[in-house]
Subunit: 245 residues, 2 copies
DNA sequence: CTTGCACCTCACGCGACGTGAGGTTGTACC
DNA sequence: GGTACAACCTCACGTCGCGTGAGGTGCAAG
């Protein structure tokens, strides 16, 4: 009955751990075999094996080896408190994972809906989504998504195609030096305002977030051809709309 | 207009990254600033900053720096495929996280329901749950949980308290050498069978899993005083019940 | 005596940086 | 010119839980 002591290989086979892992536990003092052969081979006693089972249980709960060592070290710990702390951590990580999945899923859907996109479009899409998540609250994002749903795929694509054209025409007028209060510009400015309103839906929170984003991330606007100079021109045109000549 | 180049500190402040992280990206060749001052200070151009934004976007999606480097390296990758692979990984991790949360939550509930438990009880509870998860299918676990609910806390505690008593009395008879076919043992064996039936609910799958677990994990039984010798005695007593003298 | 297996002890590697140590550069003020 | 002080630089080790060799020893069988 004294042959109950196991060597590493045997223990590894029985627990499914690697030999290296057991060596590691020995190294860091988490599980030191109580006996050794004369030649230095590790001999794990029944008590060692019981301890290992405890270790594996706690490991399955996501505790670090250090935490396990601490927990097994002193027997006076409050089990409930320890588990609840760990549960809290796990819940936070779960929420993060969920968010990540949602992000990826949203992007995948975008990609599936669109034509085969170029790498550049792809990166821009992601960047845009990241920005949106940064500047809009979750509720606002929901509302935006709802409005997109309501508009339908085609309408969205139309608007997305119209923006660059509108920007280009506005730039033309600016470069020609057209007075922003006069006609071709008034029409363009009106359309500009309409498109923005179609996006915000008149929601003041979303309007505010959009404004914040535009101010904080001028590079994004730049990439779409909306440089500060143009924006200032548009601003003047808008002002003229409100104050009719 | 040529003052657009940023030094590390500035870029770090704007992106929320640490200076060390930017150094790291430089080290591994993920983002090498296109310019340096004469004295060796890093200067990030607008193009560098754009690349960094791409990097951060992909990082937010959980890609490793190596994957990001690969993705940004060649422009011919299939965006959808990349994202879908990543999504799959994320979903798997999400499932694991969820399982972990459930495990922790179950243990926390157990701990809250019970009296303040000793560290030893705690570890034993966890170990038991781990074993259960190993040998019973999710559906079986659900059924067991349902039966526990139906029994009520007090009844469960009663049964849990009865087991050690029953085991002790059985051992007594065995050590006295009582014939397992004769009376005090017949009654004990009957009760033994009843308790097991209360646990399995007569479900053959659960009966089988229980048997498998008992065979594969003799140490667990041992700790409850059910050594092989005793089990063999119980087995004989059971057989005598079925074949009435 | 050799073969072969299980065991031993170093010791580096991963991934994405954190955290110093110890030195240089740039800028502002005296 | 000197002297702070912040911002930059380059090593280089630490993290966590082992994987993965390299190079050597112990022990039983042919």
């Amino acid at each position: 009955m004294q042959h109950t002591e196991l060597k590493v290989g045997e223990l590894a086979r029985r627990t499914g751990l690697s030999i290296r892992a057991l060596h590691h536990y020995d190294e860091i003092g988490l599980l030191k075999p109580s006996a050794h052969t004369a030649s230095g081979h590790r001999l794990y006693t029944a008590a060692d094996i019981a301890r290992l089972h405890h270790i594996l249980s706690l490991k399955q709960l996501g505790f670090s080896l250090e935490e396990i060592a601490g927990t097994l070290g002193r027997a006076d710990f409050s089990a409930l408190r320890v588990v609840e702390l760990r549960l809290q951590r796990a819940r936070e990580q779960l929420a993060e994972q969920r968010q990540l999945c949602e992000r990826l899923d949203a992007i995948a859907r975008q990609l599936r809906a669109a034509e085969p996109v170029s790498a550049d479009d792809f990166l821009q899409t992601i960047e845009a989504m990241t920005m949106f998540e940064k500047y809009y609250t979750p509720e606002q994002l929901k509302e935006l998504e709802a409005r997109r749903q309501a508009m339908g795929e085609d309408a969205i694509k139309e608007v997305e195609a119209e923006w660059p054209r509108l920007i280009a025409r506005m730039r033309e007028e600016m470069e020609k030096g057209t007075d922003p209060a006069t006609e071709p510009v008034r029409a363009l400015a009106t359309r500009w305002r309409e498109l923005i309103r179609a996006f915000t839906g008149g929601n003041p929170g979303i309007q505010k977030s959009l404004q914040t984003m535009s101010q904080q991330e001028p590079q994004m606007a730049q990439r779409q051809g909306r440089d500060p100079q143009l924006m200032e021109y548009v601003g003047r045109a808008m002002a003229c709309l409100d104050a009719p000549k």
